[in-house]
Symmetry: C2
Subunit: 226 residues, 2 copies
């Protein structure tokens, strides 16, 4: 029996890699990668391609959004704003400076449009609420609201649902699930700042490093210094 | 007293032009135009620029989405699918072939990200339900769901609301309101097919032509033949 199709958003990071590995347990994968002018876009894109190759997924879509950089307002897309180092990034109101305003809506809109055209029934996204950076668009209520929007805003005969399988997991649990499903964590990239070796000092590196420690396994990616 | 800022989506068509004219009654305008690889993108962009010049609005953002063309699935973005002529476009399930899957979510996501960064409190969009082509993302319930998403997905201190002032108007009423507010309808462009003179035969031309007839005024844009 052929399996139904799921679009999985794959940034190149760990959470989306494990999320896609979970999707692959039940569905045939179509992998979507979106660059949006963030500092490490080239490295993340390479991670996407290597992960997709690892799984042998041929149905891929790579998109590039230039307007998030035009709009700015985030340390990831505005090179004049520094990436916070050596401490977790707590920006104004507890929202990190790396928050890209309303970013996930852009990514999900692409995933839903693609799903509608290729006939995919599911859209997987590796958003994480617990143990995350505190972005407002990573909460379960946001995804419930998005499912309502998809229901109303697509053709009546479609029935596309967003799925967020890792949203309530800790990062350490995500690593354990990734190892269980054979997800290629060695191919993922999380650093917000560097593309050769992980800086070990940005928010994303600190969260990743801590999670590997908690999971009791060594992080397979190279770091500048720890 | 300085007026608060509203982002108005301005496609270059009639509905969004009148919608922006309504927004300008109460707010200072920031104008957003999004090209997405549709057939008449260059002509619509020119209309945007001419309308923004007409009003003297300096705060402008022009974006280009390539992925809606990559994704396809619409006669507007896939040049292998013909634009329906000489009859209103009723595609499968009553959804026109010109429907671009989930398109408005992409446009609104850009508007909301920009509004969040520039501190705009309102996002105006000229969606029309009644007397429209029957796109699923032009209904009031869709915009209610989107407002919920914005509330959940942006910084807690922001309070951005989508406003759809023409959603329940007939196209003829939109023309009358446009004339009342001095909206530059002569600068707008609606044709889905041609960029020099309006074809007069596509869905969008037929709706526009009929609306000017109903409003009892002559359409100021040139047509190939009627």
């Amino acid at each position: 029996m052929s399996r139904d199709l799921a679009v999985a958003l794959l940034s190149g990071g760990m959470d989306s890699c494990v999320c896609a590995a979970i999707a692959a347990q039940e569905h045939e994968l179509a992998l979507l990668h979106v660059s949006y002018g963030q500092r490490t876009a080239a490295r993340e894109r390479r991670a996407f391609q290597e992960i997709a190759d690892f799984w042998g997924v041929e149905r891929r879509l790579e998109c590039r959004l230039d307007h998030l950089r035009q709009i700015g307002g985030s340390s990831l897309t505005d090179l004049n704003l520094p990436v916070v180092k050596d401490g977790l990034d707590k920006g104004p109101g507890g929202i990190p400076t790396s928050y890209v305003p309303f970013r996930n809506a852009h990514l999900i809109a692409i995933a839903v449009s693609w799903a509608e055209v290729i006939g995919a029934r599911w859209v997987y996204i590796g958003a994480v609420e617990a143990d995350s950076s505190g972005y407002p668009d990573c909460r379960p209520s946001y995804y419930e609201a998005f499912n309502r929007l998809i229901e109303l805003g697509t053709r009546p005969e479609t029935n596309i649902r967003l799925v967020t399988p890792v949203i309530e997991m800790s990062k350490a649990e995500i690593i354990r699930r990734g190892l269980e499903f054979g997800a290629p964590l060695h191919l993922t990239w999380s650093c917000y700042e560097r593309e050769d070796r992980a800086c070990g000092r940005c928010d994303s590196c600190l969260l990743r490093w801590r999670a590997f420690e908690q999971a009791g396994v060594a992080d397979p990616v190279p770091y500048v210094a720890r």
